[in-house]
């Protein structure tokens, strides 16, 4: 008989859940994870990681298409959708196996099944092999994640109208595509399929794409995508998806005027909803608001010994937020000294379209709305030697400082590799550096990171290379 009694049980083996479990095991707690599908969750199997594999393909493909500008002659370039998808799946599987290995290494028991709270300290698990188990816990962490939102009239059918999941494993690449929603997920697929040659239209209900980003980034991104041949429609609503045999006709309305467009496939990327169903929350003190579990700063739900982390516990819906939350909740439970609640102003966000987008903290508009006196610095890629050498002269890095205190309020970047750069500002924000320390930091030459320095200098009228 397998062990059924644990100090901590984590429900959900995604990035928040498995990291929480590892930390719990490190702290000497007897730990289990209940996962209904794949260890690693959406992130690893159907999200962050496999899309990065696809986007790497499109990046390389894009470079090859511009081979001549690098002095290379490449002929008869083509691709095999099947092999592209295969590579992406291989990457996902490798990492999912890696997570399973981590569970073994940390002596964490994994139950393949679906868990449900059944009274104080007890979980009923419907195992995937159709057996049933009852587990007892001292503390349970709900980390069940989220799934794509279905808007009425725009429901995905998995064939003609896709969610991220089908978009990731297409049997063949569509020649034309409508992407509904221009958040990170929608834009990444739009960017991938456009680079691979599809006619892509993006429809966004608000007046700009990537609506959570700084406005200047949205404007720059729109121009860059349009230059690549993408069609961007903002301030529009999509309705009435008429499905044909192998195409879809959508009605797009803006300012009272409607037009119809016909495309091979539609990707619906209109947000997510939390996985809060069938968890046995009824009759507990766990509160659900707008499909998400309500928690305090320590992930506590209000129900004794029941915690929640990650996407199911609300925005920002980011794997790194879930992981950090998992660690802090476990440490709080274990009574580790010096645990701090998470400061959401210090969580960076990345979008891996071409050009890449990364940001942290307040946008310029948000800083102004708070009534703060600010200093804004901006440095373009065209002023950076490495960017020119890479053949990536498009983009900029923008920094926003509190004029009074020198606090780095926010940073916004668009351009090559910026997703790898943003962590510099994350560290700066977490350490509460001011512009003085950033100016005093030596950035290596020649790197793209020099622009991070220049942007800070620019905020104080001291930029060197422009």
């Amino acid at each position: 008989m397998a062990e059924t009694s644990f100090d901590i049980i984590v429900v959900g083996g995604g990035p928040g859940g498995y990291v929480a479990a590892i930390r719990a095991a490190q702290l000497g707690m007897k730990t289990a994870v209940v996962e209904r599908e794949h260890m690693g969750g959406i992130c690893l199997n159907w999200g962050c990681i496999p899309t990065k594999a696809l986007l790497r393909t499109s990046e390389v493909f894009g470079l090859i298409k511009h081979a001549e500008s690098f002095g290379l002659s490449v002929k008869d370039v083509s691709y095999d959708p099947k092999k592209i998808v295969e590579r992406s799946r291989k990457v996902a599987n490798q990492l999912s196996n890696g997570v399973k290995g981590l569970m073994r290494k940390n002596k964490i028991t994994v139950f393949d099944g679906t868990a449900r709270l059944v009274g104080a300290g007890k979980l009923a698990v419907a195992m995937n092999d159709r057996s049933n188990a009852t587990l007892t816990y001292k503390n349970v962490i709900l980390a069940t994640g989220a799934r794509a939102r279905n808007l009425p009239g725009l429901e995905a059918d998995g064939k003609l109208v896709w969610t991220y999941k089908e978009a990731m494993v297409p049997p063949e690449f569509p020649k034309s595509l409508l992407v509904i929603g221009s958040g990170a997920i929608g834009i990444e697929f739009a960017s991938f399929y456009r680079t691979m040659g599809a006619e892509v239209t993006v429809a966004e209900v608000v007046d700009r794409i990537l609506p959570v980003e700084d406005e200047e980034v949205s404007v720059f991104a729109k121009r860059a995508f349009e230059k690549q041949g993408m069609k961007i429609l903002t301030g529009v609503t999509v309705s009435n998806l008429k499905k044909g045999a192998n195409n879809v006709t959508a009605t797009i309305t803006a300012g009272g005027k409607s037009q119809e467009i016909t495309v091979d496939r539609v990707i619906s990327a209109v947000g997510i909803v939390g996985n809060v169903e069938n968890l046995g929350l009824e009759g507990t003190k766990v509160k659900v608001e707008k499909t998400h579990i309500v928690i305090d700063q320590w992930g506590f739900t209000g129900e004794p010994n029941v915690y929640a982390i990650g996407d199911v516990a609300g925005p920002p819906w980011l794997a790194h937020k879930a992981m950090h939350e998992g660690v802090l909740v476990v440490e709080k439970i274990a009574g580790v000294k010096g645990v701090h609640p998470m400061n959401t102003a210090n969580i960076p966000g990345c979008t891996y379209c071409q050009p890449q987008v990364a940001s942290i903290g307040l946008t310029e508009a948000a800083a102004k709305a708070k009534g703060l006196q600010i200093k804004v610095g901006k440095f373009p890629f065209i002023g950076n030697g490495k960017a020119i050498a890479l053949g990536e002269p498009e983009g900029f890095i923008k920094t926003i400082f509190d004029a009074k205190t020198g606090e780095l309020l926010g940073a916004h970047m668009i351009g090559a590799e910026v997703t790898e750069l943003i962590q510099g500002y994350s560290i700066a924000k977490t350490l509460e550096t001011t512009e003085a320390e950033l100016m005093a930091t030596v950035f290596p030459h020649p790197t793209l990171s020099e622009m991070m320095h220049e942007s800070v200098l620019a905020a104080y009228g001291r930029t060197l290379h422009i």
């Binding site: 010096g338 701090h340 509460e432 550096t433 005093a440």
Partner: protein
């Protein structure tokens, strides 16, 4: 040359600590930045990192030693090429009465890049101690005029961060320290305590230790004398009634104690020489009249401060006092709300105590012990009549205030209490 490793001061008020644990032993090579031992103070346990490189030549203070004075030699490090400790280590006892470490003012450049500390810079080991503070917090503190040494950091390992200084008030520094005194350590009682089964051993809380230290220090080093007067409070009670009829609109309910606060504040304003502290070379006379009020809590005694009480109305004092007292009980007072003050009031009247002698709260010079208000037979115009009376006892630091001065202060206080209208003049 061998290097002496000294007992560090981990907080501005730390004078001694316990060497909780050694992480190195004799012969170990030590790198700069390596954790070498753990020190326990009344507030926290902290890891101590080596400043220099070398080999541990001698461990002077053994693990578990308590009451190790700040700046005492705790270990000796051998530099490259050295094989043994040459000079005999000044023993722990040699660290004679060390002056209380003064809080080092943190360097606060007004503007411009902060100089980056180089690894060769040694943190000051005697006199001051390093304050861990984020650059942003440091700058905000400089702009607001907040003294960082008075702030407890909430960041990792007690680092002072933005949130800590944003709430702090300018000049939030501890009251001027009393003269450095050769403070005798609270020593173990001369008589051993015999315990029997059923007796409990309750570890001291940090607050308990602070109370013990400060009260012992006060009784042992401050020359107290006591003056008691009997006050008639008929007029005060009548005034209170009248005030409360009006103050109700402000949501205030003024107590006798609130009126005593006001009366003491007015009397201190009239006698500035009593609103003072003894320091080694000079007398410090305070400009503001800040009254500390003793509040009993589950954790122990704490004295939140009503600032500028001489300038505030009694309803205002009452509202502030209620807020301070309730937050004191929840342990939510900010440092600056209970550190400082020039005069303390301690009231045990609600327990029926007729009169008592309180211990001065250093570096203040006086404390007023307030007894119960009660009906007593008194003689007025040759007749025995019943009046509401209240005894107060003033404890006075004779170094600051002489007997006659203290008596005059009490006279003034008596006049304000017995004719409350005088407080309006």
């Amino acid at each position: 040359m061998s290097i002496n490793i000294l007992m560090p001061a981990l907080s501005p008020t730390m004078t001694e600590g316990k060497l909780a644990k050694w992480h190195v032993k004799v012969g170990d090579a030590v790198k700069s930045g390596q954790v070498i031992c753990e020190i326990e103070t009344d507030k926290a346990t902290m890891e101590v990192e080596a400043v220099d490189e070398g080999k541990v030549g001698q461990i002077v203070v053994p693990e578990g030693a308590e009451g190790v004075k700040v700046n005492a030699v705790i270990a000796i490090l051998l530099e490259e090429g050295e094989t043994e400790v040459k000079a005999p280590a000044p023993g722990q006892a040699a660290a004679a009465p060390t002056p209380a470490p003064k809080p080092a003012p943190a360097p606060m450049p007004a503007a411009g890049p902060t100089p980056v500390a180089r690894s060769t810079d040694r943190p000051a080991t005697s006199g001051g101690q390093r304050i861990f503070v984020s650059p942003l917090a440091k700058r905000i503190a400089a702009e607001k005029g907040v003294d960082l040494s008075a702030i407890k950091g909430s960041g990792p390992n007690g680092r002072i961060v933005k949130a800590d200084v944003e709430g702090a008030k300018p000049g939030a520094a501890p009251a001027p320290a009393a003269a450095p005194k050769a403070t005798p350590r609270p020593s173990a009682p001369a008589q051993p305590i015999f315990t029997a089964p059923g007796d409990k051993r309750i570890p001291h809380t940090a607050v308990r230790k602070v109370i013990a230290r400060r009260m012992l220090e006060s009784k042992q080093t401050v020359p107290h004398f006591y003056l008691t007067v009997e006050l008639e409070i008929e007029a005060l009670l009548a005034a209170r009634q009248a005030i409360n009829d009006m103050a109700r609109k402000m949501g205030a309910k003024v107590s006798v104690n609130d009126m005593v606060i006001k009366a003491c504040a007015k009397a201190l304003r009239d006698h500035p020489e009593c609103n003072a502290s003894w320091a080694e070379d000079e007398m410090i006379q305070y400009g503001a009249v800040d009254i500390s009020v003793a509040v009993a809590t589950d954790r122990g005694l704490i004295t939140p401060i009503v600032r500028n009480a001489d300038m505030k109305g009694v309803a205002q004092i009452s509202i502030e006092m209620k807020d301070l007292a309730s937050r004191a009980k929840e342990g939510k007072l900010k440092l600056e709300e209970f550190q400082g003050g020039g005069f303390t009031i301690s009231n045990l009247g609600m327990f029926g105590v007729k009169e008592f002698a309180a211990i001065i709260n250093p570096p203040q010079a006086m404390i007023l012990a307030v007894g119960a208000g009660e009906q007593r037979p008194v003689v007025r115009n040759g007749q025995m009549v019943v009046r509401n009376m209240m005894n107060v006892t003033l404890a006075v630091d004779h170094r600051v205030v002489d007997g006659a001065m203290g008596a005059q202060f009490l006279q003034t206080l008596k006049a304000y209490i017995e004719q409350p209208a005088a407080m309006l003049v």
